[in-house]
C-alpha cells in the first residue's frame, strides 16, 4: 500500500517476466491507492489509515520483516533455502543486546550482524560443504539459536545492571532522522484533513519523522541488493549458482564460494533484522516472534525479487503497524472497506483474465467484508490481530501466481557431481 512507494522501485527483472511498469506508472498506481485510502478515511473518519503516526508504526513493523526477506533472498538466489532466518535473527538480537548495552547502539548492530553471520556460516557449512538437506539445517538452527541465546543471556545479563535472566540491560537507540520544519509543515497540512493532500502529507511525514537510521539502511540495502544481484559480476555468478550450478561450475565459477558468500550475507542480514528489534530497547527472549518466517513469506510473495519482497513486507508491515497503532479500532474497521475495494479490483482483473471462479470468490469475500463493516462498529481484538496474516494470505491467493523460484533452489550441489 502507500508505504510501498519508496521501497518498490522497479528493479531489474529478467526481460520477459518484467512487470513492465515504468516509474511513472508506479507513481500513478500509488497515487490512485492514496486517493482511495483518502476517500475511505474521509468517509469512515478513520484517520489512522494513513496518519503519519500509523505510517511510522507501519515502517517500524515492516523494516525487520523486509530485512529478513532480504536475508532469504540472498541465500535462495544462490540456491540455498534458508528456513533458519528466525534463528539467525535471534542470534542477532542477542549480539545486539550484548554489545549494545556496553558499547553503544552501533557496536550492538555490528555485533548483532556478526552473530547472524556466524549463524549463516553454520548453515553454509552444513548445507554447502557437507551437503545436507537445507531445511533440516535451517530447522536445527531455529532450535539451536534460541536455546543458545537464552543460555548465554542467563549467564551474561542476570547480574548486569538492569538486566535479567531473559533480557539484557537497555540498549541505546541508533540515530533517528526528522526533517525539521518539513515534518512540522507536513504536519499542519495533515491536520487539515483535506482529500488526498493531507493523506499524502501524512504519509510523507510518517516517512521523514523519527525515522530510524536502520530503516534507511534497510531501504538502501534493498536497492543495493537489486543492483548487486542483477547488475554486477558477483550477482550474475551468484544467481547462476541458484539457477544452474553445474553450468556455472563448467565455466570455472567456484560455486561453493559464491554459495558461502550468499548464505553468510543472508546470516548477516538476519542479524541486522534482529539488531533492529533491539536498539532503543533491549534484548529479550522470544523477541523475534516469528518475523523470520514472515520475512521468508514476504520473499516468496515477492517472487524472489527485492522489489516484490519489499512490497510483501510493506503490505504485512502496514497492516500490522496500523493494527497496533490504531488505538480506537476504527482504522481496522475501515480497513474492511479498503480490502473490499481491493478485492473488487482483483475481481475485475481476474474476470478479464478469464478466471471467473477466482473473480467470483473475490466478490463474495468483498461482500462479506462490507457486510461485516456495516454490521459491527467494533471488531473483536483477537480477530483484528489476525488481519496482517489473513490479508497476506488473501493477496497470495487472489493475485495471479506466476512465481518462479531459482531453478536449483534447495537442491544439493556437489562439485563434479554431474
Amino acid at each position: 500500500m502507500s508505504v510501498d512507494s519508496d521501497l518498490a522501485v522497479p528493479l531489474p527483472t529478467s526481460p520477459r517476466r518484467a512487470r513492465n511498469l515504468t516509474p511513472v506508472m508506479w507513481l500513478g498506481i500509488v497515487a490512485i491507492g492514496i486517493a482511495v485510502v483518502s476517500l475511505v478515511r474521509i468517509w469512515t473518519g478513520a484517520n489512522n489509515l494513513d496518519s503519519s503516526g500509523a505510517i511510522q508504526a507501519a515502517i517500524t513493523a515492516a523494516t525487520p520483516i523486509a530485512l529478513a526477506g532480504l536475508s532469504g533472498l540472498w541465500s535462495e538466489r544462490a540456491g540455498v533455502v534458508n528456513i533458519g532466518i528466525e534463528g539467525m535473527m535471534i542470534l542477532g538480537t542477542f549480539g545486539a543486546g550484548y554489545a549494545g548495552y556496553q558499547w553503544g547502539a552501533w557496536a550492538g548492530v555490528a555485533f548483532g550482524v556478526f552473530c547472524g553471520l556466524l549463524g549463516g556460516m553454520l548453515h553454509a557449512l552444513v548445507t554447502v560443504t557437507v551437503g545436507v538437506d537445507h531445511i533440516i539445517s535451517g530447522v536445527a538452527i531455529n532450535i539451536l539459536a534460541p536455546g543458545l541465546a537464552l543460555y548465554l543471556s542467563r549467564l551474561l545479563f542476570t547480574d548486569a545492571p538492569g538486566g535479567g535472566q531473559r533480557q539484557s540491560p537497555p540498549v541505546p537507540d541508533v540515530g533517528r532522522i526528522t526533517l525539521p520544519w518539513l515534518s512540522d509543515w507536513l504536519g499542519e497540512i495533515e491536520d487539515k484533513g483535506w482529500f488526498f493532500v493531507s493523506d499524502l502529507a501524512g504519509i510523507l511525514r510518517g516517512m521523514c519523522t523519527n525515522l530510524s537510521l536502520l530503516t534507511v539502511l534497510a531501504v538502501v540495502l534493498i536497492i543495493a541488493t537489486g543492483f548487486v544481484l542483477w547488475r554486477t559480476r558477483l550477482g550474475l555468478r551468484l544467481r547462476s549458482c541458484g539457477e544452474a550450478p553445474y553450468a556455472a561450475e563448467s565455466l570455472g565459477v567456484n560455486v561453493y564460494w559464491y554459495k558461502y558468500v550468499a548464505v553468510m550475507m543472508s546470516g548477516a542480514l538476519a542479524g541486522l533484522a534482529g539488531s533492529f528489534l533491539v536498539v532503543g530497547l533491549k534484548f529479550q527472549d522470544g523477541q523475534t516472534g516469528g518475523r523470520g518466517y514472515i520475512g521468508l513469506a514476504a520473499m516468496i510473495f515477492g517472487n524472489w525479487r527485492p522489489g516484490g519482497m519489499a512490497l510483501g513486507a510493506s503490505l504485512f508491515g502496514y497492516t500490522d503497524g496500523v493494527q497496533q497503532y490504531d488505538a480506537s479500532g476504527s482504522a481496522m474497521r475501515a480497513f474492511l472497506v479498503l480490502v473490499a475495494i481491493a478485492l473488487l479490483v482483483v475481481a475485475v482483473l481476474q474476470y478479464r483474465g478469464g478466471h471467473r471462479i477466482v473473480a467470483g470468490v473475490a466478490v463474495v469475500i468483498a461482500a462479506l467484508c462490507l457486510w461485516w463493516f456495516a454490521a459491527t462498529d467494533e471488531l473483536p481484538q483477537q480477530l483484528v490481530k489476525a488481519a496482517p496474516y489473513a490479508i497476506t494470505l488473501l493477496v497470495m491467493a487472489l493475485a495471479s501466481q506466476n512465481l518462479r523460484m531459482p531453478k536449483a533452489d534447495g537442491l544439493i550441489y556437489r562439485k563434479g557431481g554431474h
Binding site: A57, T60, P161, G162, R166, Q287, G289, A327, Q382
Partner: protein
C-alpha cells in the same frame, strides 16, 4: 531481582500508613499480621527447620515482574537462614506432566514447603499435594485448591489496586482520555483492566478508557514485546490519551518510552517501577504503580512455616490486608492521594464493589 525487592520495600513504606487496619476474616488476619511485617522479617521459629522449594512460571527469576517478587522473598528467607532446596523454571508450552515432575522433584529434594508461582501450576499442584500430605504447598494466583488441607492459595484482588490507580489516572488526565495496555489477553490481566476502567469511570464519568492487549494466548510474548508496547502506546498518546496503565510485564518499558517521547504519563504494575534501575531513564513518566505484593504473600507463607503455624486455605491479598496497593514515588500524585484514599476506604467498607471481569 534486588531491584524489585528494593522497589517493594519503598512501596510498603509509602503505604504502611494504611496497613494497620484489617478486618477479622480468619484468612486475612494470618496474612495481614505478616503483611504488616513485610518490611523486615519477623521469624519466631527456627529457620533451619524449613526447606523451601520454588517453582517459577515461564518468566522465571529475573522476569522483572511477579516471578522476581517471589524470588525476592526467597532471597530474604535465605538470608534469614532458611534452606532453599531448589528453584526450577517452567518451559514455554510444556505439558502439565512437566510441571508435576518439577514439583515432585522439589519434594524429592526434601522440601518441606513448596511455592508454585502462577495459576498454570493449579492442576499439577493438586496432584502432587494429594500425593504428599506432609509437605506444605502454596500457589500464587490460583484459588481452585483452597480446600486442599496442605495448600495455601495466595490470590490477589488486582482489580482493587487497579481501581485506585484508575482514580489517579482519571485525576491526572487532562484530556479525559486514558488508556490500558495489557500484556496478554487472559482473565488475570482482564482483572487489572476491569478494576482500572471502574476506577476511572467512578472518578470521571465522562472519561473514556481505551484498552488494548499486545498478544493473545497461548502466545505469551505480549509480556516481553516492548517494541509492540511502544507502538500501541504511541498510537494511544497521539490519539489524545495522556495516561496509560501498562499491565504488560516487560512490555511496559515500551509504554514508558512512548510516554516520555510524547510527553505523557504512564502507570506501572506489580512492583514500584519508578524505582527499577533499568527504567531509570523513563522514571519521570511513571506517576504511580499498582502494587501486587507477591513478595509479601510468599513471605507470609515462608514465615508462617518457620513460625510453625504454616498457613493453608484461601488467602486473598487485597486492600484489606495491604496485599495490593499503589505507590507514590516521585510525588506525581500527591495531590490526589486524598481522593484515592477515599476510594480505598469506600472499597474497604464495601460501599464500592470493584468488578473483576470486563463487561
Amino acid at each position: 531481582s534486588g531491584s524489585s525487592s528494593s522497589g517493594t520495600t519503598s512501596a510498603a513504606a509509602t503505604t504502611a500508613a494504611s496497613s494497620a487496619q484489617s478486618a477479622a476474616s480468619s484468612a486475612a488476619t494470618g496474612a495481614s499480621g505478616s503483611a504488616g511485617a513485610a518490611a523486615e522479617p519477623s521469624l519466631t521459629g527456627d529457620p533451619s527447620s524449613v526447606k523451601v522449594g520454588l517453582a517459577y512460571d515461564i518468566g522465571g527469576r529475573g522476569d522483572q515482574s511477579f516471578n522476581d517478587l517471589a524470588a525476592a522473598s526467597l532471597d530474604k528467607a535465605k538470608a534469614a537462614g532458611v534452606t532453599v532446596v531448589g528453584e526450577l523454571t517452567a518451559g514455554a508450552g510444556e505439558p502439565d506432566s512437566a510441571k508435576t515432575d518439577r514439583l515432585n522433584q522439589l519434594v524429592d529434594s526434601g522440601a518441606t514447603d513448596i511455592i508454585a508461582v502462577g495459576f498454570a501450576y493449579a492442576t499439577p499442584l493438586g496432584e502432587v499435594a494429594k500425593a504428599n500430605p506432609d509437605v506444605h504447598f502454596a500457589i500464587v494466583d490460583d484459588s481452585s485448591l483452597a480446600d486442599v488441607p496442605n495448600v495455601a492459595s495466595l490470590t490477589f484482588a488486582e482489580e482493587q489496586g487497579s481501581y485506585l490507580v484508575g482514580v489517579a489516572a482519571a485525576k491526572k488526565s487532562t484530556t479525559g482520555k486514558v488508556g490500558f495496555v495489557g500484556g496478554v489477553n487472559t482473565p488475570l490481566i482482564q482483572k487489572f483492566q476491569a478494576g482500572f476502567e471502574a476506577g476511572v469511570k467512578a472518578t470521571n464519568p465522562s472519561a473514556t478508557v481505551t484498552s488494548k492487549y499486545i498478544s493473545e494466548p497461548p502466545d505469551f510474548s505480549g509480556f516481553n514485546a516492548p517494541d509492540k508496547g511502544e507502538t500501541i502506546a504511541t498510537g494511544m498518546y497521539n490519539d489524545g490519551i495522556d495516561v496509560i496503565y501498562a499491565a504488560a510485564g516487560g512490555s511496559g518499558a515500551g509504554v514508558f518510552k512512548a510516554a516520555k517521547a510524547t510527553g505523557n504519563y504512564a502507570i506501572g504494575v506489580d512492583s514500584d517501577q519508578y524505582n527499577i534501575p533499568s527504567l531509570a531513564d523513563v522514571k519521570d513518566v511513571i506517576i504511580t504503580s499498582m502494587l501486587k505484593k507477591v513478595d509479601v504473600a510468599t513471605w507470609d507463607f515462608i514465615a508462617s512455616a518457620v513460625n510453625g503455624e504454616v498457613i493453608s486455605g484461601q488467602h486473598v491479598y487485597s486492600l484489606k490486608n495491604d496485599g495490593v496497593g499503589y505507590s507514590t514515588s516521585g510525588g506525581f500524585i500527591t495531590e490526589y492521594v486524598p481522593d484515592i484514599e477515599k476510594a480505598k476506604a469506600a472499597i474497604l467498607d464495601g460501599s464500592i464493589t470493584v468488578p473483576s471481569t470486563v463487561g
